[in-house]
Amino acid sequence: MSGAVLQVEGLHKAFGGVQAVADVSFAVSAGEMLALVGPNGAGKSTCFNMLNGQLAPDHGIVRLDGRDIVGLRPSAIWRLGVGRTFQITATFASLSVRENVQMALYSHAGRLRSLLSRFGTAYRAEADGLLQQVGMLDQADRTCGVLAYGDLKRVELAMALANQPRLLLMDEPTAGMAPRERVALMELAAGLARKRAIAVLFTEHDMDVVFSQADRIIVLDRGQLIAGGTPEEVRANPAVRAVYLGGTH
């Protein structure tokens, strides 16, 4: 796949004797929504953490726009254009919603080293623009520490978009949200991804979300990819049915 933004080849990770991720390869192209699914403990989060530099793979290649990014720190990978949302939201609780997004914008512009200028005067309009897109503008002045969980997920999305990413990694983006909110958030993400030609890789437990929003789905079981394809193909795949519904292969 030549137009792939993210290309993963032969990714391996073992914890002690447990092979958490074994020989996983896949690719995501610009504007594509790729869902990584699998039962609990299949290795989804391990896979994710290797993509953004939190975990070092035992071996394997991770290419972003053709460049090998294995061994880079998360901060360096972000600078190459990878936005990330977390399974358990991570925002700056003592800062306002707008300041959270401004942090990402300042960082993108390399303007965080200033000791004497006042933070928050720059990138106000850009931050509000991003908050508008995720529907959080009306709460821009609230402190993140007091927000509802679903709203925090939106703030994370806005922060992930702040560096005009080529790739968006969303680990269970809708966990902890009400069912109606879930589809809305993923529709939002999908719309933004297509409009801005961002490649999106997400994990998700809610199959309604997966099958309605993903362009392609790959299925991980006990560390190995067992299937991949369009939602229809995956739905019909007997191996997938076996993993999710039990029974023999």
Partner: protein, 625 residues
């Protein structure tokens, strides 16, 4: 060194390791279960030593009298621990960690004065152990029989603890709580009883560690802080919460220190190195090395995540420049109306305010708690004094260069510190402060040793107390304004963001360590400025400017005023400095009074004075009409 002398030093080290292990095991046990860093643990050790001294006199110098006195002293210290747990700590288990720490500081102050009241200020030399006073000859060298007994006691206590922890239901609960305190609570275990019993056992160990030292070490009032520093090093090197780790670390530290003393003075490349004076340095270097290589200690594991998230820090509100201006005008006017005493007291307060604000900067918004902030205050003071007296620089130049020297030390210390977080970070800062203190204390020929540096007076045009008052106001005011300004800059926001969520900070391209390191250097330099201004206002500097006591004073000021407000540390510094001055003039037992005041505040205002007043004001505004 011959084989025999190596063996002797090894045995010396192992004997010293026994008490070190006992007190550290107790500290580790208590920390594992309650998550409280018990600063008063050294005080309990001290009580064990004093208690044994008195009890031996009462019970007689027979083997029976001696050993019952030792055991009785340990048990009584255990009861003292229970008292501390039930009366104070139990009420604040849900308070922020730092408040628990503050409470245990207060207990240190109270116990010190109780010991002063009961046993007096003179060192008390205990008797030798009856029946064990003789020496055993090994390879032609003589070793006290009592030391050999101590060497045996360490492993015996380790085995007993191991049996207690692995073979009893109580032990299973302790191990479970060490791994996951909330889960144990959720399973219906009576936490209050468990915590009290753990405090009892931990305190008995501390008391026993102290009591066993009675034939080897005179009981004195400085033991509390020196022992707690040693115990911190041992628990951190071994791994917090790991008894086996404490044992291993106690042996490593004990033996390393013994070898330093054994090596004595060595001349390398024409420089005389007095190893026997470097024991503290070696001990803390071992700790720094271990923490950098194994951040959780030799046998420790990363701290289990606490499920009950502590409340996120509230947003920081910028200080009002109008109110600051009013204060400034008032302070400028003070010397016109007030007497000399007030001017001098306020000059002290300015220095401590900058010291406290710089500590608050690093522990509050930047989220890196320092137990050893006095290092930079003291090094700034010494740099000023030594540049003035030894290098012969003019006072003005010394005042400008001193903060840079303190900052240079912060460059080195900070490089290690930003690699750690939480309790480990705090203890490493304490370790660096102790290294600085011991070098200053022991390098007689350069720093003046325990006497310090004298004749550090400002230039003639600043010599007048009123003029110096304005200089202190200008320096400290500018320092505080700078720190506050930086807090609201992009740099300051990075620090706050990194405290809130390091994970998110990295995920938006921020290399946090670099920023935290820079913050360390900034606050180090400004604490150094505070120290330099202080040195010239007093005319002399003593090692106490770098001591643990000075560091804890800073923590008390910050926590007293409230860590969550910007003005809190200033209020804390002012109240603490004034109160200490007032109390110290009235009673010899000012520490106990301060301790009781702090305990009252901790129990009544768990958010600090300014935070508490704000909360009261908020409740007043929201009251039903």
């Amino acid at each position: 060194m011959t084989f025999a002398s190596i063996l002797i030093q090894l045995l010396n080290g192992l004997a010293a390791a026994a008490s070190l292990f006992l007190v550290s095991a107790g500290l580790s046990l208590i920390f594992g279960v309650t998550r409280i860093v018990n600063f008063a643990h050294g005080s309990l050790y001290m009580l064990g030593l004093y208690g044994a001294y008195t009890l031996i006199q009462a019970l007689g110098r027979t083997p029976l009298g001696f050993w019952s006195a030792v055991l009785l002293a340990a048990l009584l210290v255990g009861l003292a621990g229970v008292l501390i747990e039930v009366l104070i700590l139990r009420r604040i288990y849900r308070a922020p960690e730092l408040f628990q720490l503050l409470a245990t500081f207060a207990v240190v102050l109270v116990i010190k004065d109780i010991a002063l009241f009961v046993w007096g200020a003179e060192d008390l030399v205990g008797p030798r152990a009856p029946g064990l006073g003789m020496a055993v000859e090994i390879l032609g060298k003589r070793i006290p029989a009592y030391d050999l007994l101590l060497i045996a006691i360490g492993p015996v206590v380790l085995a007993a603890l191991w049996l207690l922890l692995t073979r009893t239901r109580w032990g299973a609960l302790v191990r479970a709580a060490t791994q996951d305190r909330e889960m144990v609570g959720a399973l219906g275990v009576d936490q209050a009883k468990l915590f009290t019993s753990v405090f009892f056992v931990g305190s008995v160990l501390a008391g026993l560690g102290g009591a066993l030292q009675i034939p080897r070490e005179p009981a004195n009032l400085e033991l509390d802080l020196s022992v707690i520093a040693d115990a911190f090093v041992v628990t951190v090197v071994g791994g917090l919460g790991s008894i086996g780790g404490a044992f291993l670390a106690a042996i490593i530290i004990g033996v390393a220190k013994a070898f330093c003393i054994g090596i004595g003075t060595v001349t390398w490349f024409g420089t005389e190195i007095v190893f026997s004076k470097l024991t503290l340095v070696v001990e803390f270097l071992i700790m720094a090395l271990v923490l950098v290589v194994r951040p959780y200690g030799l046998l420790g594991r990363p701290q289990a995540a606490q499920r009950i998230a502590t409340d996120p820090a509230p947003p920081l509100t910028a200080p009002s420049w109008k109110i600051a201006a009013i204060w400034l005008v008032l302070l400028v006017a003070v010397p016109l109306a007030a007497d000399r005493y007030v001017t001098i007291l306020l000059t002290d307060i300015f220095c401590f305010a900058l010291f406290a604000v710089s500590l608050h900067f690093i522990m509050g918004p930047a989220g890196m708690v320092s137990f050893g902030h006095a290092a930079y205050f003291g090094l700034g003071a010494y740099a000023a004094g030594l540049l003035f007296k030894r290098a012969g620089l003019p006072m003005e130049a010394a005042l400008v260069l001193a903060p840079l020297c303190a900052g240079a030390f912060a460059v080195v210390y900070g490089w290690f510190c930003v690699r750690l977080s939480g309790v480990y970070l705090a203890m490493l800062t304490l370790a660096f402060a102790q290294i600085s203190w011991s070098i200053v204390f022991q390098w007689d020929s350069f720093t003046g040793g325990s006497n310090g540096v004298f004749g550090v007076w400002p230039s003639a045009w600043l010599a007048d107390k009123t003029t110096y008052y304005y200089l202190a106001l200008a320096c400290c005011g500018a320092g505080i304004a700078l720190l506050w300004r930086v807090l609201f800059s992009p740099f300051g926001f990075v620090l706050r963001a990194g405290r809130d969520s390091p994970l998110r900070a990295e995920a938006i391209g921020i290399d946090l360590r670099g920023f935290q390191w820079a913050a360390f250097v900034l606050v180090g330099a400004l604490a150094g400025l505070a120290g330099a201004v202080y040195a010239f206002s007093k005319g002399s500097i003593s090692p106490s400017a770098i001591s643990i006591a000075q560091s804890t004073d800073g923590l008390i000021m910050v926590l007293l005023g409230g860590v969550e407000t910007l003005t809190g540390p200033i209020a804390g510094a002012a109240i603490f400095t004034w109160l200490r001055d007032e109390v110290a003039r009235r009673t010899e037992f000012w520490r106990a009074v301060m301790g009781l005041v702090i305990l009252a505040i901790v129990l009544l205002f768990p958010q600090g004075l300014v935070g508490g007043l704000k909360a009261l004001a908020a409740r007043w505004r929201e009251r039903p009409a």
